[in-house]
């Protein structure tokens, strides 16, 4: 032992100390999240109290990725076995050896937890089979959606039983005043959020039964978002922003094969929207209208069934806004793209084929349109 470099042992000890501190913080964070009621506490804390400190964090992350439950179990077992072995075999010098073994377990746990995660991520997600409803069935339906928020200790009820039914090829505008919950409705329809009560039925399938991976997949492949503030990533240029949905659906390995096809498609869409000469520009170099067009192009990248637009013209002047609306109408008429739009501007709402009015958390029919139940 006298020849083992004490510096090394010392650095290992320091690292173990750091890991312990972070481990403690991780438990605290987990506890905080459990208190917010998202998951039962034991599912958060149990991984955290494993003997190998920090293995907890790694195991948790592995556990998030459901297919790695088996690896998570193996990592737990290895950690416990390792510590017992260390104590039994190296009883005299247990302190020094324990520290060294701890680091080893930690690294092993990280590798064991992350390697399959990384491998599977490289391959890409594989969602379950989807059932396609018949063409004349409604594409998306909402049944009695309720949603409320916590605001400073008080519960604010935003949606109080919203129901609607939308068919393929419809261009629906949901019109309502600011704060009436139209964005909330859009998020529920786009599976970005879950309702407190009620159901969202997509193509005949109840989205409440979907697992997170499936929801992600649907958001990627079948739903396109266009948002008020364009929401383009500033570090990426136009083409890369376009490719984001394509990259989300495949892993790094498969990307090599599908890259060229994706680029081709992106350029086509950009050309169709008149942005062919803006391909390498960054968002900050584009005008508002051009950015919104890029957002629309990005939403169309994976040929989604539904295009959800949240105040698409809210940040634009009337002329540019008119251009965007013309574009949306063109999309709807030429390609039968189903579009659901929310807006507070009545003029804009009238440009849709169907208008719904959201007031006091409930949908009321407005004028010529019906709720389509």
């Amino acid at each position: 032992m006298s020849d083992v470099n004490p510096t090394l042992l010392l650095m290992l000890a320091l690292f173990a100390l750091a890991a312990l501190i972070v481990w403690g913080l991780a438990i605290y964070v987990a506890g905080g999240l459990a208190r917010r009621g998202r998951r039962p506490l034991w599912r958060w804390v149990l991984p955290a109290i494993l003997p190998g400190p920090f293995l907890a964090g790694a195991a948790y992350l592995a556990r998030c990725y459901r297919r790695c439950v088996i690896f998570w179990t193996l990592a737990q077992a290895a950690s416990i076995a390792g510590v017992i072995a260390a104590a039994v075999i190296f009883l005299p010098g247990v302190l020094g050896i324990y520290v060294a073994l701890d680091l080893l377990l930690l690294l092993a746990g990280l590798v064991v937890a992350f390697v399959p995660v990384l491998v599977l991520a490289a391959l890409g997600p594989r969602p379950g089979p989807r059932v396609e409803a018949a063409r004349d069935e409604p594409l998306i339906q909402a049944h009695g959606l309720h949603k409320s928020y916590n605001l400073g200790g008080r519960r604010l009820r935003v949606l109080r039983g919203v129901s609607l039914s939308i068919r393929r090829g419809e261009f629906v505008a949901v019109f309502g005043a600011s704060g009436s919950g139209k964005s909330t409705l859009l998020h529920l329809l786009g599976l970005l959020d879950t309702a407190d009560a009620g159901a969202v039925v997509l193509d005949g399938a109840d989205t409440a039964t979907f697992r997170p991976a499936e929801r992600n997949h649907i958001r990627c492949q079948e739903i396109g978002f266009v948002l008020q503030f364009y929401h383009l990533l500033p570090e990426l240029n136009v083409l890369e922003n376009m490719l984001l949905p394509a990259m989300t659906s495949v892993g790094a390995w498969r990307w090599c094969g599908s890259r060229r096809a994706a680029r081709q498609r992106a350029r086509e869409i950009l050309a169709k929207l008149g942005l062919a000469d803006r391909v390498t520009h960054r968002p900050r170099q584009l005008s508002g209208g051009e950015q919104q067009r890029v957002a629309i192009a990005r939403a169309l990248m994976n040929s989604p069934k539904i295009l959800l637009a949240d105040e698409p013209t809210g940040n634009l002047d009337s002329r540019t806004g008119g251009q965007i609306m013309k574009l949306l109408k063109q999309l709807n008429q030429e390609t039968e793209q189903t579009i659901i739009m929310v807006t507070h501007d009545q003029a804009v709402a009238h440009m849709a084929t169907r208008m719904l009015h959201l007031r006091d958390g409930k949908l009321v029919a407005a004028g010529r349109d019906s709720l389509g139940e």
Partner: protein, 730 residues
């Protein structure tokens, strides 16, 4: 794919993270430099210790305590060095090899040790080997048998004499050994008495004394004197690595070949001239006058010495005479064998003279009887030529003796084997260092010096102790990298110092059984590589201790019971010095480790900020289908990438800093006048500048892990955000 893509893109574009990278790089470089210098220092100490005294040291508190050292070494290595004046008596060719026979007049103490007792009737035989040297280099080893014949008392002198005879084979042609122009001499003979200890590879005795060194008329310095056996010492330590004339020679001796001495000395002279030219090339106000003065005097000394060495070889009258004698010998040996007869030659010459007269008269007379006479004359001339051409064996023998004598005189001046000294490089006054750390010698090999040694082996307390003085010729100089040793040590042959310190054997004239054995101060032992460290080295030391206890019981006269023998490993001997350094290293590493923890917190803060800045973008990625763990993985990868980038930068910067740390320190000293690394305090000339790749790897792993740790909580925070909230975030 989006995770990898975004991670790399953020690494390129998010300049905030570069601060984190810089923090990691700085911490990595800091820890690497500190750990490397400390580790390097300790490994230098280890190397220096092994270079100074091998792995295990046997010593006593008194400098003149250890007796019967050769016999004890035989217990350790299995071989006992036979201390006797062997003479080459016969050389016989044996195939490609040659067989040699030596004869030696044995001195009693070795004979009894090798035979086992003082009075023995039958001759004792041991396998033995002898080291033959020729022209200053090892020619080869003779492997054969050493025969010790029983004692015979010389009737005239009443002296007890033993016969030691070594006969064995050497794989070199016989002609090489019998060339009178370049004779061989026997450097050492080792008799194999047993197997020795498994762990021990070699051992050598050392005498350690203090003395005054006198150079020229007026230079006196107190120095430590080491009496060592070469090339034995080269096998135990790496003494030969630091030599000037014989660098790295495994067969280094106190008598390097004169050609090598001249070569190195003139090479050094050229270097000194270059340094002087460089200093003179500087503008006048930048010149260091003091340095130039010293360089000039060193150059003058070296010049004179090189010239003298050359002249000794080329123009010395003995050398000239030797050349002439060799020519004569060659001429004499070239003729056909036979015994030349001076009388016969004279008679033939007279006969030829008479016939010449006849021929002359016959030509004048024009008588036909000239032809048979001429024929006779020609035959006589032929006979005369033959007689004159024949080798005169007597003359050949005389010439050989003359040559031997001339060589003896010449080599007596050159090669007085017991009168050679190796200086430590760095004795103040005999050499100095330029500001650029080049060594300049003012005294080079060939110089004559004198040593004044106190006879510490003398028995009894005497009120008048007369020191022994002897002159030596400098043969070489040695550098061990340890400043305190190099600046105050000289090395002389073991036997010479033993005589000077009066530590030779003393035997009662009337009763040869009463003997005070020859003594030495220390025994340095080298263990085999497999046992060279840790637990195994301590076990080896215990084996040596056990061997000593056994030996002492058999030979109680080997050491005085009042002065106990201490046997310890190099590490134990230096523990007082190493211990504090190790503790310092541990402490400094802890401190730097704690400071480096700051980088983890910095990464945490920066990444948290980045996550806060990117909340909306996270929402967008979720909206296009990114998963929550995917977001977390992206940020964790980002953290790891920060660690990777930081560790690469830090390791590179740290490596170059350590590698050129001496140059940096020189520049710093030049710029600010503040020298950080004091040679006297820190023992070595140079700051250790090696980086251990294992340490670098550990530091890199730690840096990457700290990136992960720092980014963990922000990553989790990013992933658990609700996409709807994230999108709405402003």
């Amino acid at each position: 794919m989006y995770k990898l893509f975004l991670c790399l893109r953020y690494l390129q574009r998010r300049y905030l993270a570069l601060i984190a990278v810089a923090a990691v790089a700085l911490c990595v470089a800091m820890v690497l430099i500190v750990v490397s210098v400390y580790d390097g220092f300790l490994s230098k100490v280890e190397r220096a210790a092994k270079g100074l005294f091998g792995d295990i040291i046997v010593e006593a508190s008194s400098l003149s305590a250890i007796g019967r050292y050769d016999e004890f070494i035989a217990e350790l290595t299995g071989e006992c060095r036979v201390d006797a004046d062997f003479r080459l008596t016969e050389v016989k060719p044996a195939g490609d090899d040659s067989a040699l026979v030596f004869l030696a007049a044995g001195r009693p103490h070795h004979a009894e040790a090798l035979a086992g007792k003082l009075d023995f009737e039958k001759a004792v035989t041991h396998p033995a080997r002898g080291l033959l040297y020729k022209g200053g280099r090892l020619l080869g080893e003779v492997h054969g048998q050493l025969v010790i014949s029983p004692a015979r008392r010389n009737p005239e002198t009443d002296e007890l004499k033993y016969g030691l005879r070594l006969s064995g084979k050497l794989s070199k042609p016989a002609a090489e050994l019998t060339d009178p122009a370049d004779p061989v001499h026997l450097q050492a003979v080792y008799a194999r008495l047993g197997e020795g200890l498994d762990q021990v590879e070699s051992a050598t005795p050392v005498i350690f004394a203090y003395s005054l060194l006198r150079v020229g008329e007026d230079f006196t310095k107190d120095v430590q004197v080491y009496g060592v056996r070469l090339p034995e010492r080269a096998a135990v330590t790496d003494f030969e690595a630091g030599l000037f004339v014989q660098p790295g020679w495994a067969d280094a001796s106190f008598n390097p070949p004169p050609e090598e001495v001249i070569k190195q000395a003139s090479g050094h002279l050229k270097e000194v001239r270059k340094i002087r030219a460089r200093e003179e090339a500087k503008p006048a106000k930048d010149q260091d006058r003091d340095l130039l003065d010293r360089l000039e005097s060193a150059e003058a000394n070296l010049n004179a010495m090189v010239a003298r060495l050359r002249s000794l070889r080329e123009l010395h009258p003995w050398q000239r005479r030797l050349t002439v004698l060799r020519g004569q010998l060659r001429a004499e040996q070239a003729g056909p064998t036979g015994q030349s007869d001076a009388g016969r030659i004279q008679a033939l010459k007279e006969q030829i003279a008479i016939l010449d007269e006849f021929v002359k008269n016959a030509l004048e007379d024009n008588s036909s009887s000239g032809i048979p006479i001429r024929k006779m004359r020609m035959e006589l001339l032929k006979e005369l030529r033959l007689a004159a051409d024949q080798r005169d064996q007597g003359k050949i023998d005389r010439l050989k003796d003359d040559i031997q004598g001339a060589r003896g005189r010449l080599y007596g001046l050159y090669h007085g084997r017991d009168r050679r000294m190796i200086l430590g490089l760095g004795i103040p006054g005999l050499s100095f260092r330029t500001p650029k750390a080049e060594s300049v010698r003012r005294v080079c090999p060939g110089w004559e010096v004198a040593l004044v040694v106190a006879p510490i082996g003398q028995e009894g307390l005497s009120t008048t102790i007369t020191p022994n003085v002897r002159s030596f010729i400098v043969a070489d100089d040695a550098k061990t990298d340890v400043y305190s040793i190099d600046s105050a040590t000289v090395y002389v042959p073991f036997a010479a110092l033993q005589e000077l310190t009066d530590m030779t054997e003393r035997r009662d004239i009337d009763d040869p059984r009463k003997v005070t054995p020859a003594r030495c101060s220390q025994i340095h032992v080298k263990v085999k590589d497999a046992f060279a460290s840790g637990r195994k080295l301590i076990d080896a030391r215990k084996a040596v201790q056990a061997a000593w206890r056994k030996f002492h019981r058999v030979h109680p006269e080997a050491v005085d019971a009042r002065w106990p023998i201490i046997i310890h490993t190099w590490r134990e001997r230096l523990s007082k010095f190493i211990g504090p350094v190790q503790k310092q290293r541990t402490l400094v590493t802890i401190m730097f480790g704690i400071i480096s923890f700051v980088s983890v917190l910095l990464i945490f803060a920066i990444f948290y900020m980045i996550v806060m800045q990117k909340i909306r973008d996270i929402g967008v990625v979720r909206a296009v289908g990114g998963s929550a763990p995917g977001i977390a993985q992206m940020f964790l990868a980002y953290g790891a990438a920060t660690g990777v980038a930081g560790s690469i930068l830090g390791l590179t910067g740290g490596y170059f800093f350590v590698r050129y740390i001496n140059e940096i320190e020189d520049w710093l000293a030049w710029w600010s006048g503040f020298r950080v690394w004091e040679r006297d305090v820190f023992l070595f000339d140079k700051i250790p500048n090696e980086v251990d790749p294992g340490v670098a790897l550990v530091i890199a792993v730690w840096a990457i892990a700290s990136g992960l740790v720092g980014a963990l909580i922000p990553a989790v925070r990013a992933s658990v955000m609700e996409p709807a909230e994230a999108i709405k975030y402003e």
